[in-house]
């Protein structure tokens, strides 16, 4: 008769999954360009908003996007959080800043890491620029940009965030 101390109620069963990602035309173009160090978005023919990374359509208008727009690696903090929660197997050590960033000339934010900054000084409207990995490490991935860091430019007023031209503040 088994001792109750030997009774198990569960066992570890790891699940592994490797998948082939079919990006589709617009994201494939974006990934091809970012491998060359270029940030490339697409403009909606109807509302003129610029999407990056592009998914090939503007969900607001329901139309395909085809016109390619090359964007600078400068942008603005639209919002952010400071992540302090320890998550298993996370290579990034908390606390770290995750920011919703809008590139100059773009009309939609994406999420990236913000570094080389005092976490307590990060703010909505802050100006930032990409810090790229060494060229030889570039692949078909958004993390060719290691992180964004603050730059010495005046903050963007809230009403202007997501509405700057590709030339940025000077434009």
């Amino acid at each position: 008769m088994a001792d109750t101390a030997d009774t198990i109620t569960g066992i570890e069963c790891p699940v592994y999954l490797q998948y082939h990602f079919t990006a589709g035309r617009a994201p494939a173009r974006f990934l091809t360009r970012i491998k060359e160090g270029v940030l490339s978005g697409q403009r909606c023919p109807r509302c003129s908003n610029v999407y990056i990374p592009p998914r090939g359509s503007c969900p607001a208008c329901g139309v395909p996007t085809e016109e390619e727009v090359e964007l600078p690696d400068k942008g603005t903090v639209q919002s952010f959080t400071v992540v302090a929660i320890p998550i298993p197997n996370n290579p990034i050590k908390p606390p770290f800043v995750v920011a919703n960033l809008v590139l100059d000339g773009a009309n939609i934010s994406f999420i990236h890491l913000l570094s080389e900054c005092e976490n307590s000084e990060v703010r909505i409207g802050q100006r930032v620029q990409a810090v790229w990995k060494p060229r030889e490490e570039w692949g078909y991935a958004m993390d060719n940009i290691r992180y964004f860091r603050p730059i010495d430019e005046p903050d963007v007023p809230v009403a202007q965030i997501g509405k700057l031209p590709v030339t940025g503040r000077e434009g």
Binding site: V83, N90, N107
Partner: protein, 387 residues
Amino acid sequence: MSTLAAVVGIGQTQYKTRRGDVSIAGLVREAAVNALQDAGLEWDDIEAVILGKAPDMFEGVIMPESYLTDALGCNGKPMLRVHTAGSVGGSTALVAASHVQSGSFKRVLTVTFEKQSESNAMWALSTPQPFSVHLNAGAGGYFAPIIREYMRRSGAPRDVGIKVAVKDRLHGARNPLAHLQLPNITMQEVEESMMLWDPLRFLEACPSSDGACAMVIAAEELVHESPKPPAWIRGVAMRSEPTMYAGRDEVNPQAGRDCAADVYRQAGITDPRRDLDCAEVYVPFSWYEPMWLENLGFAAQGEGWKLTMAGATSLDEGGDIPWNCSGGVLSSNPIGASGMIRFAEAARQVRGDAGAHQVPGAKLALGHAYGGGAQFFAMWVVGADKP
């Protein structure tokens, strides 16, 4: 909608960090048996089964529905599995309701579950994609910047989230099924808890729970066969929108506003704060109470936090529109079931069967769920009176 339908049975499990005593099959069966008992029915009285849960990777069991057919008495009956991320508990209830309202079936069992202790939801939500950086920030990392934007826009005082965290845990202490039992929680304790995703603290976030929730929904002609008062389904609505598009208002999503307008119109509600007696609303992070108060039309834009701070949503403070009397998602969060728990708790209120968290004389209640990047919405209004 042709046939009138009502909730005639509700069954829940205890919600807790880990149910090591039962398998997933055992967990869903426990909720289902409780619902059948509550409805005074047997397995043979059920014509179809509608099952829901959040992503399969939350347990690492792919297509759990295929192995749960037996535990849920589906042999020889139609069975359907629903998935709409965190709102799935709500949308599953609505799929079940529509199977009865359409006249397809006269009595349907619907069950939702999550056994979060079996895997890591934070990891399961963070699968790498090449066009996005892999930051491993979890759900809180996604919603915290949206909350920060709400705080900026509304100018709400910093302690609104803390107040919601305390209020929902005091509600939860009235509900013996709630996972977190914190009857002595204080504002100071919440404020001093670890900042996980600034501005969200540990005690402002939902727990991770194991649990299941089930309901039996019957057509009007069979409602009298169950002994307890029914909860009449007075309105049902679902809406969705893309996670990302230029100009999207993430703080106050259009799909949520449209969904609420639709369900209120069906139920004849013109002023939700006045017309409803209580609401069970999906609030997994404290600040989503003031945000949804505005999205759902209980307060004007930028003013939701005023209701919270005035105690309007608190049972303990005698508020006029108590929200989440069961303790809400902040007290129990088996993700796939969390939406259905909101729908079921709304039904318990109008059946007068909510025990120590009953709103006296509740006649009309809202059940609400949202999921994905706040892109899927599911709502129903249930009433004590037949429409």
